[in-house]
Structures are given as C-alpha cells and as structure tokens.
Symmetry: C2
Subunit: 447 residues, 2 copies
C-alpha cells in the first residue's frame, strides 16, 4: 500500500514523502523537543544483556521469585469475579480512594502524614516524574540533580528541554554546601531553577543515602532559593538494617513533591506508583494525568489494593530486604576479592553499587569486551546529563542469584585486567574510540 | 507540619510560601503550558451525573454487564499462577509482542495490513494521543480537527499549546471542500499545520461516519498539504449494521497514524490501547512512551492477550453491537416522541447522538435545570476549542438501559419545554449568564 492517487485535476503535490526507503518523510514536522530524543544507553544494552548466557549486572528489575503467586492468582480471580464491572471500567483520574488510603499506611513507615486527597496514583512513578516536569519546566529552565542521577529522570528532563545542573554527592548523599553554592551561582546568573530532583534513599546509581542530619539542611536551602524538592523514593523501605529513615516529605509538606512506587516493594507489572503533592499542585497533577492517560488502570489498582488488604505485605518487604542483602554481600565480597584495584560504594539498601575503575579506565569503552566476556553493566556516563562518569559503572545486584553475581564479578575482573593492560600500552583515548564503534555493531546485531 | 526552621545564620528567605491558606505558593513556578490547564466540562459534570438518581446521558463509559466475568476471572487466575513472574515484571516499552500480533488480527477487520513492529501498545489510546502530540506539536502549531471534536483530544492539544482549527463535518463526516479551503488558508497565512485529527467512525460526539467515498479524498488533501493524519478509531468495530468500513490507514501507510483501543470493544479497566505509525515515527513513539511511563503494564497486556486467545472476542463484539443498537433505537425513538422540535444525528454505531436544540437555546445554560430534573448530558461547547456549540448537546446511549434512556429523554423533554418558555420571555443572553452561575454552585456542592 502507499499514498492514494490524487484526484484528477488536483493541484501538484507540495510534499513528496519518500516511500520504501529508510528516510523519514516527516523529519521536518517534529516538534523541537523531539530532536533531542534518543535511546538511553541502558535501553540499547538490554537487548544484549538479556541473553541468558550473559550475567546481567545492568538491569534494575526486581527479583520476583519470592512472590506468593498462588495467593496473587486467587486475589486476581476473586477481584474479577466479585468486582469485575468496577475493575474493568474507567476509574477516577486521581486514583482509587481505598488504594490511596492504603498508600498512606505505606508512607507512614517513613514518617509521612498526609490525607488521601494529597495522593495521585500514576502509571508507575515514572509517569509522576513526567507529569511534575510537564507542570513546571519550560524549555531552558534548570533542574538540579545529584551527580550521578537516575537515568530515567534525566530522560524526562531532556524531553521537556530542561537544563540539568549536577550537584555532587558523597557517602552521605547530596552535599549541602555544594547545593548552596550551585543555587547561589544559578541565581546570580538569573537562571530559572524549577526543581531539585533527589533520590535520598539507596540512590540509583550511587547506592548512598542522604544522612538524617543533612535532610533538613537540604530542605532549608531549597526553600531559601524557592526551589521545589522532588523526592523520588522507590527504595526507601528496602534498607538492609534498622528502621527506614524519615522521608524529606515528613519534614516539609509544602515544599516537597514525594514520589512512591510499588515496583520494588511489591511488583512492577501492575505499573502502580504515586505522587504526594501540596494541594494546588496535586489538583494540577490530576488534570495533567487525565490529559495524558484519562485514568490509571482500575484492574491494576484494585489488584494492588487487594494484595495490601489480604496479604502480609510488610512480611513480603522484609523477605525482599533479606534477599537483596544477601546479594549485596555477594557483590561486595566478590568485588573485594576479584577487583581490589577499583573502589565502590557499600549500599545499605536498594539495588546498586557504584564502582570507580582505576587508572582512568573508560567503562563505556570497555563494555563491548565485557559483553564478549558475558557480563553486562551500565557505564557511568548514562547517569549524567553532561558526559561525566566515564570511569564509573553501575552494578546492580537485584536480579541474579548470589552465585551468578559472583560469577559476573569474576568475569568482569578478567575484563578489567585485560583493559588495564591495553590502557597501559595504548592509553585511553584511542582505545575509547575504537571500542565505541564496536559497541554500536554489537548492539545493532541484536535487533 | 510545615517548613523546617532555617539554620541559624542562614540568609533571609527570598521566598515565603503561604501556609494554611488556599493560595498556591508555587503559582509563579509553573510552566507556560500549565496556565491554560483547566478541568473539562465533562469532568466537572461527572461528580453530579454519577449520583444513582440521575439518568446520565453524559458519560462515555461502556456497559460491561455482558462480559463473561467467570471466564475473565479464570484467565486472570491462570495468568498469575503460570506466568506470574512475567506478568508482574517490567516489560518492553513497545509492548508485548504476542499482543501486538493479536492487535493485527483485530485491525484486519478494518482492512489494515501491518507488521507487529509497527504497533506501539499504550496506556489507553489517550496516551497515544498525548505521545503523538508531544512528538509533533510546538506551541503555536496548528492541529486541524472536526467541528465538533473529542473533548479528550482537545485537552491534549491545549496541553501542548496547539491552536486547534475546526473544519465542519456533515452527515458524511469531515467535508473535503472545507478541509481544502482551511488548509489553503492556513498555508497562505504561513501557519505550521502538524496534524489532522479525525474520528472517522461513529464520531464522538457527532455520531456520524466519514463516507467511504470521502476517505481517499481526505487523505489526498492532507498529503498534498503535508499534514499527517491522526486517525482515532475507538468505535470502528461497533457498527450496528453491515461490515466495518476500511480504515483510512488501510488506504495509506505512510501518512497516517492510527489509534486503536480495547476500551470499547472489550473493557477500559486494563487501559490498553495502541498506535500504528510509519517506521521512523513509531521508533520515536516508543522512546517518548519510555520517558512517560517506562513500559505499559504487563499484567494488563497479558490479560487482554489471554482474553483474545481464549475467548470468542468477535462474538463479544457482536453482542456489544446488539446491545448498543437497542439503546440507540431507544434514544432515537424517545427523542422523536418527546423532543420533536430538536434535530439529531442517527448514529449507525458507537455511543453518541448529537442533538441541536431549537430556537437558539443554550445547552450549557440549561444544564443546572436538567440536573435538578435528574438527567445529565454534555453541553456542546465542550467539543470545540473556540466556544462554538452552545446550542448542541451530546447524548450518550452506551451505559443506561433502554428504559432508563427513555426516562432520561422524557425528563429532558420537560427541561427543554420549560427552558423554551423562559427563552421566549427573557431571551437567551441574560438567562445564560444566570444559569452559568448556578451550574457552578451545583458542581461545587458535590465535591
């Protein structure tokens, strides 16, 4: 099929879309925001990393082996049988009210007191990220984010043509003095800073947490500069020891938008996340969400709600914590044994450790060699808006078993050793160029 | 709770968010696009119209009484039990491949031949509308749409700061001569026209369909002016008589983005819709969707996929068609009996009829009186970007039973008669103003 034949006597065509070629006839029609759109480094990697023979330390998929599938199957059955015409119908744009009340219970574990009206249910917390950015960011506005920062958030900020300015973090999370200095400089430059985006607990990718002492200080600085804090907290309940830290939202209910998710504490397949926002912002979030998707899935929301009502969800989180702690231990132990020349963070929760390679080695350049050696990771550059991070990599310990994690790190050690030798012979620059070309072919091959 | 106390010695606050008031301290921080955001007239209405004593001819909710809930419950059960770690996990941004193949089968009923790679699964077709607009529309770009047009699409176009230019339709759908004239004028004015948005089958709200003869003509005109056609087709398989018409996409695979949905032919609660787009656009749609939600729900997609594989979905659509035909007949019969002074379209499928009130009566002004009389509809102005449509209303016959539909129209007839009398005494202008104020109080009361 192709274009229909113009009616006889019609005017000459002013546009001639190409057919049967790889050219895009609509290339001139895209909006400005579309020109900066590109696949994340993580996405290109997944096609390769998901081969069964590869040990993937790249993905952020939770391990669902421990879920009570028989119970969940029964819940799904009863939900459709007894409440089918509600579960399968359109719902409210803000989300199911019972679920919003249950979300309050979950958040209370991190000290948050709120009202069900403050909560907006979204299609994963990624949608909440998108909606908040949509509400606040004009092209050219600044979003301040940790260095490094969550790749999926950087993608959203780019999609809305924000300028991301990074602020360093250390073992205690975002550095208040560095934040203050950055906001002062941006204010002096007359820049419009709209959001401070932060992952305070078990940071993705850095694996660190914002210390309790720093939390009010960060809030005070943001408040002083009139910057809204976007607190993204998918991992807060997945600490390996002790009690969860109080959320930043528990210390400030007018200057923080809080994002939560069931993807890591329960399961991502229902795509149920949420935002908690000050009243006026919450109203606008609902309008924006209705425009984007009409309403979140009732089937998903009621399934999550029934799980929370009928199952020991706190016990499930506890068993997740134990599983991930064992995997963290396997990862850290293997790093110490096999790649002692690198340095890494020791996460007290969550999914990731952030590894720094020695001798200026380039993790992006090394990736094709790693995949050839059947181990995958994400190179550090994915987590910066400005090209930093080449000597870092994110290793995730959430999905593979402890044995596979140890095997993966062992393979990685071989790659690092070989690369280290190459760097000593050829230097980093040339090698980086050669290797980047190779990774493109590797990725293309798998499509 | 409130703002944390600033650290001693910190600089004076430059921003002082109000607390404990209805003021929005962040009012100055919103993006330009947020300022035009407002609740649709339909949304404000729903809180009122959903009271059980009101006969709602307002909503577009499908009637799900006929769904085989026992079968669906078993499907949901088996899905979680046997494929739980897939159904509850993250999935591909483009959507489940098996489901995309099944979607091809569905679209083949309307003559569409495509490849699974051409399909992007979305969170309802509303999300596809949002993503397409995001890809193409800069602020100030023009989207051409039928007069009237789907309120949810108008909301999306507004959210991206598009200028909507309406083109008339008649009983055979969008008028080609009017489209040509409009595009010529816009071209002469140097406007950037990005999309022609059209609902060719059983139009929402107008109830008409684009004739077979006009389809290639509309495509040819759009092609000649370099305008991409956005074909939104939620109702195409819900015709009351005969075979479905060939989709516009079946006549043109390079100049049309096609949107489909399971919300009306199966159930909306899973939020599963899709887009079919030319290759280069499809790639960008997937990137935009990953930025917006990471991936559509696997749980929802696999449930829909299992339904299509294990149930007579064509038979289900047939029974929906029969149910809605009976309701259409009830609606049209009651209009002829009770409000013969009005005129209306006679839809051959879908959910809606479009009614014109006599004597310049104002449907928006009349709405509070209708709600007092326990019947609800949507006033015509909701379906225009420019304030047209005051003398029209959309009546939907999808949800209430035939008896309730007849009762609703009978109540509406009383309202029209009383309003008609008022108009003759006071004229339309004053009355409209008075009534608009009243509807605001009615709606506020129910929150």
């Amino acid at each position: 099929m192709g274009w229909v034949t113009p009616a006889p006597g019609s005017a000459a065509h002013t546009v001639q879309p190409a057919t049967g070629t790889r050219l895009d006839p609509w290339i001139g029609a895209y909006a400005d925001r579309t020109h900066g759109m590109r696949a994340s480094e993580i996405r290109a990697l997944f096609a390769v990393a998901n081969r069964p023979e590869v040990v993937s330390l790249a993905g952020g998929m939770p391990n669902l082996e421990g879920l009570p599938l028989e119970t969940l199957a029964q819940i799904a059955h009863d939900l459709v049988l007894t409440r089918g015409t509600t579960a399968l119908q359109y719902g409210s744009g803000q989300g199911d009210e019972t679920l919003r009340e249950q979300i309050l219970e979950v958040m209370r574990l991190e000290g948050i007191e709120a009202h069900p009206d403050d909560v907006v249910v979204t299609t994963g917390s990624q949608q909440a990220l998108d909606l908040v950015t949509r509400l606040f960011v004009n092209p050219g506005d600044v979003v301040v984010a940790e260095a490094p920062s969550y790749v999926g958030a950087l993608g959203v900020f780019r999609a809305y043509q924000a300028d991301v300015v990074h602020v360093p973090l250390d073992d205690n999370g975002l550095v208040p003095e560095a934040l203050e200095e950055t906001l002062a400089r941006l204010a002096a430059e007359g820049r419009s800073v709209k959001l401070l985006y932060t992952v305070p607990n078990f940071h993705n990718p850095a694996g660190v947490s914002l210390s309790l002492e720093r939390r009010p200080r960060i809030l005070e600085i943001a408040r002083r500069y009139g910057v809204l804090v976007l607190e993204d907290n998918p991992y807060g309940l997945l600490g390996f020891d002790g009690e969860p830290m109080p959320a930043m939202r528990s210390m400030d209910d007018t200057g923080v938008i809080y994002l939560g998710s069931f993807s890591k504490t329960f399961a991502p397949g229902y795509r149920v996340g949420w935002a908690v926002a000050p009243h006026a912002i919450r109203e606008k979030l609902v309008l924006a969400s209705e425009s984007a998707i009409l309403c979140p899935s009732n089937a998903s929301q009621l399934a999550v709600s029934a799980y929370l009502a009928n199952h020991d969800w706190r016990g499930q989180i506890k068993s997740y914590r134990e599983m991930y702690r064992e995997r963290r231990d396997a990862m850290i132990g293997a790093l110490a044994e096999h790649i002692p020349e690198a340095t890494w963070t020791v996460p007290e929760g969550g999914f990731y450790t952030w590894v720094r390679l020695p001798n200026g080695m380039d993790a992006q350049a090394m990736l094709p060699r790693a995949i050839t050696a059947l181990v995958a990771y994400v190179a550090g550059t994915a987590f910066y808006a400005d090209g930093q991070g080449a000597d870092h990599m994110r290793l995730s310990f959430c999905y593979p078993t402890p044995d596979r994690i140890r095997e993966g790190v062992r393979r990685l050690a071989g790659v690092v050793a070989a690369e280290s030798e190459l760097v000593q012979i050829f230097g980093t620059g040339t090698d980086r160029h050669r290797a980047s070309q190779t990774v493109e072919s590797v990725v293309t091959d798998t499509h």
